[in-house]
Amino acid sequence: MASLLDKRLVLVTGKGGVGKTTVAAALGLIAERRGKRVVLCEVGGQHRMSELVPELASVSVDPERAKEEWLHYQLKSRTLASVLGGSRLFQYLTAAAPGLSELVTIGKVWDLAQLAPRAGGSAFDLAIVDAPATGHALAMLTSPRTFASVARLGPVGRQAEKIDRFLRDEASTGVLTCALPEEIPVNETIEFERSLRDELGMTVDRIVVNALHPARFSREEVGRLESVKADRRPAAAAVRAALSEHRRARAEHAQLRRLRRGAGAPVVTLPRVFEPELGRDHLERLSAELERRL
């Protein structure tokens, strides 16, 4: 854990709906407790961090603004940047160019992770990104390399190459994958780790399995629950709920074992929070739990 939070950039990814945002926020709280100047980054028009952890610095990366910032920096002239920014030709090409918004997004994240961000503003020790789901995250991480190879000689190429090197440098960039203890998220987690290695030569630092049901009932207790004949409805429903929970917990632990066998990165778990909406106190608890287990 010390080594993960000592990097400059940590990307939190995983299949959709597995709790990436929660884990990214919990990680931010740990970093802050350790005295790091930390910034949380969101992409894709999300603004959840500022609600979840208002005391931490957060940035929601807007590709349009990131593009303007980049232009400004590249041309070293506000006038030229506005000539280009106002040009229909340029708008037309960049709005349509596939992959460009991924590139400027990861470029902005990269800039935030630098000790002296080009965009100005305060410097941070660590940027934690609530990244898109695995497939899209992989595309985002690949985009600097793609552009570096397309635009070999120009400034776009040089810039993209710099970002690519930073992402692939283990001392600078870390990757944390979130999962749920279920068949499909487990497959996706294992597959993502493989693609990241094969396509970019990057490794996953940690896997966090969220919302693991507790193994609450012993085998003997399950036997008793199965044989009980409840005569009244609420009692019957309660017994049914307990058995159903037990089956779910058992299936989840089997998936967890499968993940541990299939994944190279260390796997840690977080307990299921039985609250409909995750409140601030739950987030604190999860953060403390995560710090202990990482």
């Binding site: 959709g16 595309a139 397309v150 609420p234 307990a242 409909p276 909406e277």
Partner: protein
């Protein structure tokens, strides 16, 4: 129920935010319709091979494969290879072999079709359109990609077509870049600044890419328009997939709103993983008596209370969504004990998706 939603429909598009069971729902709808005698193909573009998992298949290709499902109709499945679809499209558009090879070997094209996000959404739409044109199936079910913004894929055809569009093309292909006239005065200046910002070889590659397309680039735009027309057609149906979680419900409500705005045919909502309501009353005393073990009874009570809380919250969130859907139907699929990842799991979903007594 789903079969009513899809009556006389030829295309079913399953959309929703990540992690709500879109892929599984698409597969279950396809299997259910095949079980009812239809010839169905389900398409996924998910790079994580989730549909393959749902169907218990190791690998899908760019060709439809018949799934051994023992149904009255036929169930076919395919996982799109966006790169392959893109190449096929170029082959289809290219006037001759030389042009085809020029495009396929252009570096811009290779990077664009290989790695770049966004092209897979476009290619999914292409393939959907192509299969619909061929007319081999009664119904096509499309599982949309897991974009953070559930509607991104709708804009994909337009965006990519705009990129390859002939108007852009003229800028680069006309001798001495005469095409700049199209954009009026000031573009020469913009172009020279752009060279400074991007590097000259990027522009040259772009120019090469566009000129190898020739007039055929028009075809891309026309096709994108036809794809959009297909989505808006009355033979298509959008099914919104959600979970009862508050954030997913928000996304679904917003998505519904945008579908209506865009005039797209919305059929209904499938809410997955719903905790069913639990009966009222306090069973604590009953449990102690029945189990004869206070500690065990307390553990059971605790579990039951947790389930009740989750069920109550699901009710509340779904009631909120129902209000915002107006008269459109919603089907609830309960939280099943095991994760659905094979044909048996899909059949268990069937009894809810195709239940005559509901929605």
């Amino acid at each position: 129920m789903i079969a009513d939603w899809l009556e006389r429909k030829e295309v079913c598009i399953c959309a929703g935010s990540g992690g709500v069971g879109k892929t599984t729902t698409s597969a279950a709808i396809a299997l259910g319709m095949a079980a009812r005698g239809k010839k169905v193909a389900v398409l996924t573009i998910d790079p994580a091979k989730r549909l393959a998992n749902s169907l218990g298949l190791r690998e899908l290709g760019n060709e439809e494969r018949l799934v051994k499902a023992d149904v009255e109709g036929e169930l076919w499945a395919m996982m799109l290879d966006p790169k392959r679809t893109f190449d096929e499209l170029v082959e289809w558009h290219a006037p001759d072999e030389r042009t085809r090879d020029a495009v396929l070997s252009n570096r811009i094209y290779q990077e664009l079709s290989n790695a770049v996000a966004g092209s897979q959404e476009y290619m999914a739409m292409e393939k959907l359109h192509e299969l619909h044109q061929e007319g081999h199936y009664d119904l096509l079910v499309l599982d949309t990609p897991p974009t953070r913004n559930a509607l991104d894929f709708l804009d994909a055809p337009k965006k990519l077509a705009a990129f390859i569009d002939s108007r852009t093309l003229q800028l680069f292909t006309g001798p001495g870049m005469l095409g700049l006239k199209v954009l009026g005065r000031g573009s020469g200046m913009a172009l020279s600044v752009m060279k400074r910002a991007t590097g000259i070889d990027l522009l040259e590659d772009l120019s090469g890419f566009f000129s190898s397309f020739g007039d055929r680039a028009d075809g891309f735009r026309e096709r994108a328009e036809r794809v959009n027309a297909l989505l808006a057609d009355s033979r298509s149906a959008f099914v919104l997939v959600t979970s009862p979680r508050a954030d997913a419900v928000e996304e679904a409500a917003w998505f519904h709103h945008r579908l209506l705005d865009a005039g797209l045919p919305f059929a209904g909502v499938v809410a997955n993983r719903v905790h069913p309501p639990e009966p009222r009353g306090n069973p604590a005393a009953d449990l102690e008596r029945l189990l004869g073990d206070d500690a065990l009874a307390r553990k059971v009570m605790r579990t039951f209370e947790e389930e009740r809380r989750l069920a109550a919250q699901d009710r509340k969130n779904l009631a909120n969504l129902r209000r915002r859907l107006g008269r459109k139907p919603m089907i609830e699929v309960p939280h099943l004990d095991d994760d659905v990842h094979d044909l048996d799991g899909l059949r268990r979903m069937d009894e809810y998706l195709f239940d005559r007594t509901r929605a």
